[in-house]
């Protein structure tokens, strides 16, 4: 029932907004739909925590602590982003950047995107997971090119081609997985159901699975933004509307990584070696380093934070790769924190950019003076994402780095350098935007800063105190992943 609601509300919302998305109240409807989804996800979460994993509709859907936690984040960030997007879109419309038709497309696709994300998370079928991921690409492609500027078209095209090709590799991986599973589970629908695969994972053919994992990793890794498959990511983040950058960074990357992790569980079971983990660690470190060094030459504020997303995906991938209860726990925590913080930053960035009429960092100055809330939101958000305690990002980085030092000490110099470089690059730029003098006017519509500070407050809270039930939930999820 809850699953039906979770998937039904955004789907319905997508259809409704396709009809009414150009109305004045469309942003509010969008937020209301997202709110409904969020409530449904809370309901589902409560049930999972109380009763443990469930399957539904002939095992086509499967909810365990791992994905329900992502479902909650997804629904929550989708809600706050919808809240943020309402004044943002009003402002954009007021500036004449978007026509009513575009707004309709935006709102409809926003809900559809939420739907695909939630479908990818809740489905039990590895094939449907693929379908949902591809659908997510398709919906967001239209959102990235929303402004129809040459740059946004270019970004969307690159996004489309690169992710399309990438995800095609994932399909090949899925086929190989099916190929291996079919011999154990027999042909038919069950051979792609994750629950069944998980049950027989030790009997799956290791050679096939390792090959499958390569394809899956390259495929879903493209969507996760792992270097060197990350090239679409900064473009897509920078050129789309800011709410979309927020959900891309906060949700899509997570869900793609979720797919990788699900595959890793199977491969680990089949191979009994650390093959998948090693690959993920390698990709994670490479992404971390490449992103860190890419940061310093950025001029566009959204590109800057897009690279920061790559960096953090690198860290999370690395942590999942390390495995073990602490690292996996930390990776899950980091996923949460990154989603919350990065979307908060994009909210603040969106307002800052809207205010100055440009995304070029050299033109954004003195935010603390003209609009202290945006300024502080950006400053604190940046400090949080850079891993400064007491914000929660630090909590997970703490566990990841200490565990890495204990178990894979060779990797830590890279982490140290990358984090240091990233800090220098991001902070030096943000500092000049936040501080200093400026003479910019105020915005026509007051910005929605509740989402920014709600996210930051959550991140701060989780940095200082993780409630036991939340911790248990993470722990269960970590135990599932292993």
């Amino acid at each position: 029932m809850e699953i039906l609601l979770i998937l039904g509300i955004p789907l319905l919302g997508g259809l409704l907004l396709a009809l009414f998305g150009c109305r004045k109240w469309a942003p509010e409807l969008n937020a209301a739909m997202s709110f409904g989804t969020f409530l449904a996800s809370l309901w589902l979460t409560a049930r999972i925590i109380a009763h443990g994993p469930i399957t539904a509709y002939q095992e086509q859907f499967f909810i365990d602590p791992f994905n329900v936690f992502l479902v909650t984040i997804t629904a929550f960030v989708a809600l706050t982003t919808a809240l943020f997007s309402s004044p943002y879109m009003h402002n954009e419309a007021a500036h004449g950047k978007l026509s009513p038709n575009r707004l309709r497309l935006y709102h409809s696709m926003y809900q559809m995107f939420t739907f695909t994300m939630l479908l990818a998370l809740t489905t039990n079928n590895m094939g449907i997971l693929w379908v949902a991921m591809e659908a997510a690409t398709l919906t967001t492609v239209l959102l990235v090119s929303l402004y129809r500027t040459p740059a946004s078209l270019e970004a969307a095209w690159k996004y489309f081609i690169l992710c399309g090709v990438g995800i095609a590799q994932a399909l090949f991986g899925t086929i190989l997985l099916y190929f291996a599973a079919e011999k154990v589970l027999g042909a038919g629908g069950n051979a792609l159901l994750w629950t069944h695969l998980d049950a027989v994972k030790t009997q799956l053919e290791p050679t096939v699975l390792s090959l499958a994992f390569v394809f899956l990793l390259v495929g879903y890794g493209t969507k996760t933004g792992l270097a060197p498959l990350h090239n679409w990511l900064p473009d897509a983040h920078a050129e789309g509307p800011t709410p979309i950058s927020a959900v891309l960074s906060g949700l899509l990357l997570n869900v793609a990584l979720y797919a990788v992790v699900r595959s890793k569980v199977l491969v680990d079971g089949a191979l009994g070696t650390h093959f998948a983990g090693n690959l993920m660690m390698g990709f994670g470190l490479l992404s971390l380093v490449v992103a860190a060094f890419s940061l310093s030459r950025q001029k566009d504020i959204k590109r800057l934070f897009a690279y920061s997303s790559i960096e953090h995906m690198g860290i999370i991938t690395f942590a999942f790769g390390m495995g073990g209860s602490v690292a996996t726990f930390a990776a899950l925590l980091h996923m949460t924190m990154h989603s919350l913080t990065k979307s908060a930053i994009f909210f603040a960035v969106g307002h800052a950019a809207q205010k100055s009429g440009t995304q070029m960092m050299e033109s954004i100055r003195g935010l603390i003076k003209t609009n202290p809330t945006i300024g502080w939101g950006l400053a604190l958000g940046t400090l949080a994402i850079l891993g400064m305690p007491p914000f929660g990002v630090f909590a997970s980085e703490f566990m990841i780095i200490t565990t890495a030092m204990h178990e894979h000490a060779w990797a830590t110099p890279f982490i140290l350098i990358a984090l240091g470089v990233a800090f220098a690059a991001i902070f030096s730029k943000v500092q000049t935007m936040v501080f200093g003098e400026t003479e910019l006017p105020r915005l026509p519509h007051p910005p929605a800063l509740v989402p920014v500070f709600a996210h930051l407050a959550l991140v701060l809270l989780l940095g200082l105190y993780i409630p036991p039930y939340l911790a248990n939930w993470y722990r269960q999820a970590a135990a599932l992943i292993g």
């Binding site: 690169l162 590799q169 390569v214 390259v218 679409w232 800090f423 690059a425």
Partner: protein, 668 residues
Amino acid sequence: MSAILPLDLVSAVVVIWLALAVLGLVAQASPRFVTNFIFPLGACASLVLLAAAFSALGGTPDIAVLPLGLPDLPFHLRLDALSAFFLLLLGAASFGISLYSAGYFRTMDKGTLGLLCFEYHLFLASMVLVMLADDAYMFMVAWETMAISSYFLVTTDHKIPEIRSAGFIYLLVAHVGAIAILMCFGVLQGGHGDYTFATMRNAHLTEFWASITFFLALFGFGAKAGMLPLHVWLPEAHPAAPSPVSAMMSGIMLKTAIYGILRVSFDLLDMQLWWWGVLTMSLGLLTALYGVLFAAVQTDMKRLLAYSSIENIGIILVGIGLTLVFHAFHKDALAALAITATLYHALNHAFMKGLLFLGTGSVLHATGERNLGKLGGLIHSMPKLALLVLVGALALAGLPPLNGFVSEWLLLQAFLLSPGLPLPYLNMLVPVAAAALVLAAALAGYVMVKFYGVIFLGQPREKRIEKAHDIGIWEQLGLGWLALGCLLLGIFPVFVIFNIDHVTRTLVGQTLGSTPAQTGWLLLTPIHPERASYSPLILFAIVVIGVLFTIFVVKKFYHGRLRRGPAWDCGFPEQTARMQDTAEGFGQPIRQIFKQFFGVIREVPSPFDKKPHYHGETRDLLWDWGYLPIARLAETLSRLAGKLQHGRIPIYLLYSFVTLLALLVFVR
């Protein structure tokens, strides 16, 4: 209900400070309330902290667990002798600084003041938590909160680009250091996510891993302390901050790094290798010499003090290094002597540097001038300040009978007694190290004469400085407290050491050879009266009696006729105050002698210039040799990384293709 434990009191102080922080933010509309109420109240909390820490020094460690933090890892608190000692330092120094702040921040504008009050008290509270933390996570949280809050304090005046860049460098170095500390805890942890210090104490590491841990700790904490070559942020950040904040950073925050090094190397690690000590000592000596040389050539008074802080941190590190050497060779009595000197110096430095930074704050407030080249003669317009700062300057110069001398004396004693180490080379190294240390200490005198003489003595170099107003009552109280501390710590060393002994015992397992009970309170005899003894009280008394006696005799037997006249003008009547020797001139001999160490940029006018212009600048060569190449390397690498983002779809697809093929080959 049992009696109130010191730990409860300390925690209460943290809560009070946090509450005051928030209150300051809420009440920012009323600046008078903030300055006249919140800051003095914060000072009272400092006193409570002082008392609690003092009572905790001799007691058994208190432990508490807070239901915060990571799952499986609630915040562990522990108040043992080491943390009590540093809390004592914090309480004592912050009491004076907070009192002073009540007066100093009067003129600040509303919004900034509220924020500043918030950050200030958060900074204080986080430093307490650093000392209390008994698990790695809480330590790091407190540590970085300290960094962030102080960063925002440093950038209070963020409209000035130099201040922004100073803040940036500060936070960057702090962050990199913090990651190193984090990695250090990573080695120490027991695995399975157990990060409590209790577990770390019981862990047994191999020599290799223990050394790695130590280096990471030295690097991480050294970055915070301003150890060479990680000191670059310090001379930028300290001058940029408002003076009470500089005082707090220099006087207290640097000591948290010292605390960290001591905690890791003597408490958490279960072995100490002698060559760690040699390394620490060498770095400390370099730091001390480097700091003092640069202090001697500075023309900005706060930069001068910042470099002097580097010097003092160097001296403290030398002490730690010496302790490590002794402890590694199981010469515990000597180790006790060295660690006592170290801790004593840390305590002293908090007082003296706090006092001096606050003093520069008052000067800045009264004259609006930081450049030594424009000050002068303030002893006439600000006599109270001049007297109080003189105490600090003499103490920092390491002169008896003030406190700076005592700790240097103890440290030199430790050096002198070091022969007898099993390694001959080490025995040879020790006198050289002692010589370098003595050189640094002597140069400190040079620096302080320059500092005090140029600011307070002579004639005002600018007209407007003559009208500088003296300090108000809050400032007097704050400065007076710190000056009193300098004096008392200087003349009652036995009492101080008696209390430091608790810490010494926990760190190296032994205390100084003699106790006050054996030799009385008057005489400081670290090992044996035959070998060395020092009594500042007697010395002080004799000097005072001597002065009084001389004055008395002179007054008694000779007439006191006195007349005032102009100073001798060397036969050149057109002299003005601007023609006095400047701070730069005062530093010139040092620059001349040690010119290899400085990057000197000078524009000297030719004799025929119509408008002669002189410009002199002394650069930190480590910037050019160490940091700029690193920055350039990072730049090059980032250009390479940028090349990845080539803009062409086929290239991107090729990456993907090659990655896929490579992985497939790898799988095969």
